[in-house]
Amino acid sequence: MKMAPIPAWLDNATSALVEETLSMLIKRHANILLAVILFGSVARHEERPLDDSCPSDVDLLAIFDTTDRLVKPYREDIFATIIDACALHLDAPREVNVLLSDRTMQTWDAMFLDNIAHDGILLYARGSLPAQLAARQSLQERLEDKGVTR
């Protein structure tokens, strides 16, 4: 998983909200934020369009340098940051959801982690990826080197 910009297929207003959310999380929580990954339908470019009755949300996974599953005691402050970013971009047609994760990632479903490693777009990382993701990434790269595709 390599660092990449916000996908160009996202509309400008939602893209600005993602950028704001990312920027504020980095600025206010730099000491504990390890990585932010875009995942789900938008990452795969399979999102429901804006003229759909229920357009897809944007899903971000934010990984923090803690072993607490609920990312306490930082949790309330992190959501305050997310809401502050939203307040600046109320015109964004897609909602941006941010899932919080601790660095061990041990309680996540294996299939979810596989999908993140396969489809996820790394928007920010400080240092190496958590072991749960790095191991999957490494396996995926080895398989691709051997010509095995999903």
Partner: protein, 85 residues
Amino acid sequence: MQQGYSSRDSHFLSCHATLQKYQQHRDKHQGLTAYLMGLGEQRLAQWWRNFEDVRQAGFYGNQAGEREVQEALDLLERIRTWATA
């Protein structure tokens, strides 16, 4: 449990609570965060997103224990207190 709480409470929040407080009704639950912020309820939007995180984490397979359930219940209590105040 969290999933059940969320659909029931998002309906409560979007339809009944905002109707009671603001004489406004919303048919869709999507975009609830921006809707609440448009009403000036930033703190409520924050609690809602916090609650949604617990629910969505469960949806994506994060194993919920007693702490997650308690976190969800605490947030719902705050939301209910707001709605009925």
